[in-house]
């Protein structure tokens, strides 16, 4: 298959609930998972391969993912290795705005980015959650994320004592 051809052929994907989406090859190749699939197609090529079924992504989430990959299709994507070393806190304002969504949507987006193997999107979305955790007390975190407090007072005291020396250099 010739990925580098100048034209950007249409590709179709189908969500878990059966909705078909049309996008372009260039966009969809941001997904490592789909890239792997397409590279193994062999005879017939992209034009004849038909719609790609994505069993683990529902239509609402797929719509969001496609919006993101189409916006970023011409950007050079960092590898997951490069992302690991990423410390810079600079986020593209478009991405910042894009990530303004309720937590449920965000969880689904994270799961989809993980399944589809889109390192940059996974980085952005997980970092977004981390930013929500940062600078909040445990109780604030629990109520924000609706997490049940399953510690007994004795347990929590022991845990806090055990960890109080953790001091990163």
């Amino acid at each position: 298959m010739d990925i580098d051809r100048p034209s950007d052929p249409q590709v179709s994907v189908v969500s878990s609930d059966g909705t078909m989406f049309h996008t372009t090859l260039k966009s969809i190749l941001l997904s490592g998972t789909i890239k792997d699939m397409i590279e193994h197609i062999g005879e017939g090529g992209v034009e004849n391969m038909g719609a790609i079924p994505l069993q683990n992504v529902d239509s609402k989430t797929l719509e969001i993912v496609i919006k993101w990959i189409e916006h970023h299709k011409d950007n050079i994507q960092p590898t997951s290795e490069e992302i690991k070393d990423k410390t810079a806190d600079f986020i593209d304002p478009w991405d910042e705005n894009f990530l303004e969504m309720d937590l449920d949507k965000l969880y689904n987006l994270i799961t989809a980015a993980n399944y589809l193997n889109i390192p940059q999107l996974l980085w952005l979305s997980t970092r977004k959650i981390a930013m929500l955790i940062k600078n909040r007390t445990p109780q604030e975190i629990r109520s924000l994320f609706n997490i049940e407090d399953d510690w007994t007072p004795q347990e929590i005291e022991a845990v806090q004592k055990e960890n109080q020396w953790c001091e990163e250099k």
Binding site: I133, T137, P138, N146, W151, Q160, W165, E167, E168
Partner: protein, 324 residues
């Protein structure tokens, strides 16, 4: 969907963006989070451990259950401390690669106890450390005492004169010199760095120091910090490839000693030097000497490359050399 339905790997990913304080708050949120953070090797690559000043080791908290690599330990003064640490290290026998002791006042038996509990130590630093020979041992053995660290690649000794000055006055012997004696003839150390402070250098026997350097058979990289005394009075380390000198004040008359290194030395770095090799009129002899006599691939002054990959980088230096 709740956040705790996300795969563990993803949660790990999220927690890895947190700073230390936030991570500690996250640990307290729920048992699942505590488990993930407590068990993950992604966190706390660097680990500092400060012993309480009391000797009651029962109160010392246990180490986390993650593969620790770099550890910094402060205030070991008591054999019980050493025993406790040796015991705690057993779970990390093969993972610990780097240890830094600061404000250490121990004897060689205490340290041997700690070193015997780990297999793969590559880097070792002493910061304000005094190590005494254990006098309860048989005297003859102690004189030839060496630490057994077969994988050690890097040794650093930093000593804070202000803290230890009074003790040294009483000891009339340099604590760093004592530490060096336990590494004499080491075959594996490639990188050695030592920091000299005024008082420190006063007691320091340069002849012994240079002999020590020569005894390190595998030494390739030497870092001399706060080098405010003429330390390089004797030829040393003939196989040295990389030399870094910080705070160089009294180098006059000893420049020629670098000639001993000319066959092996590939990189020279001068930091915070009173010499300014870019002040060509004043420092003509120094720069001319370095460029003409030494066969350097890289030469830096304050991180500015003068020679890079064997080529003179600095245009002014180039002119200066050509016009000579």
């Amino acid at each position: 969907m709740s956040i705790n339905n996300l795969p563990t790997g993803i949660l790990e990913h999220i927690f890895s963006y947190l700073d230390n304080q936030s991570m500690q708050d996250a640990i307290s949120v729920c048992k699942l989070w505590e488990q993930i953070i407590g068990n993950s090797s992604k966190f706390m690559k660097k680990f500092k451990f400060q012993l309480p000043s009391s000797t009651n080791c029962q109160e010392i908290v246990k180490f986390p259950k993650i593969p620790l690599k770099n550890i910094r330990i402060k205030h070991i003064k008591d054999p019980l401390h050493a025993e406790f640490i040796a015991d705690a290290f057993k779970d990390y026998k093969s993972t610990i690669e780097s240890l830094e002791f600061s404000h250490l006042h121990a004897d060689n038996k205490m340290l041997t106890n700690i070193f015997n509990s780990i297999d793969n130590l590559k880097e070792l630093s002493f910061n304000c450390a005094i190590i005494n020979l254990n006098t309860s041992g048989t005297g003859d053995d102690d004189k030839n005492f060496r630490f057994n660290l077969p994988n050690l690649r890097s040794l650093s000794i930093y000593t804070n004169f202000c803290v230890n000055a009074c003790r040294w006055q009483a000891m009339k012997e340099d604590p760093a010199e004592k530490i060096l004696s336990y590494f004499w003839n080491n075959q594996t150390i490639e990188t050695f760095s030592i920091q000299f402070y005024g008082g420190h250098a006063y007691y320091f026997n340069t002849r012994i120091f240079c002999a020590f350097l020569n005894s390190l058979k595998n030494l390739k990289h030497l870092i001399l910090l706060s080098c405010n005394k003429s330390l390089i009075e004797f030829p040393f380390s003939l196989g040295l490839q990389k030399l870094e000198i910080d705070s160089l004040y009294y180098f006059d008359g000893h420049i020629e000693l670098l000639l001993y290194l000319k066959d092996s030395l590939k990189e020279l770095r001068l930091v915070q030097t009173t010499y300014n090799p870019r002040n060509y009129k004043k420092e003509k002899p120094l720069i001319k000497f370095i460029i003409d006599k030494l066969n350097l691939e890289n030469f830096y002054v304050e991180d500015i490359p003068i020679i890079l990959n064997g080529k003179i980088q600095d245009a002014a230096v180039k002119d200066f050399i050509v016009n000579e």
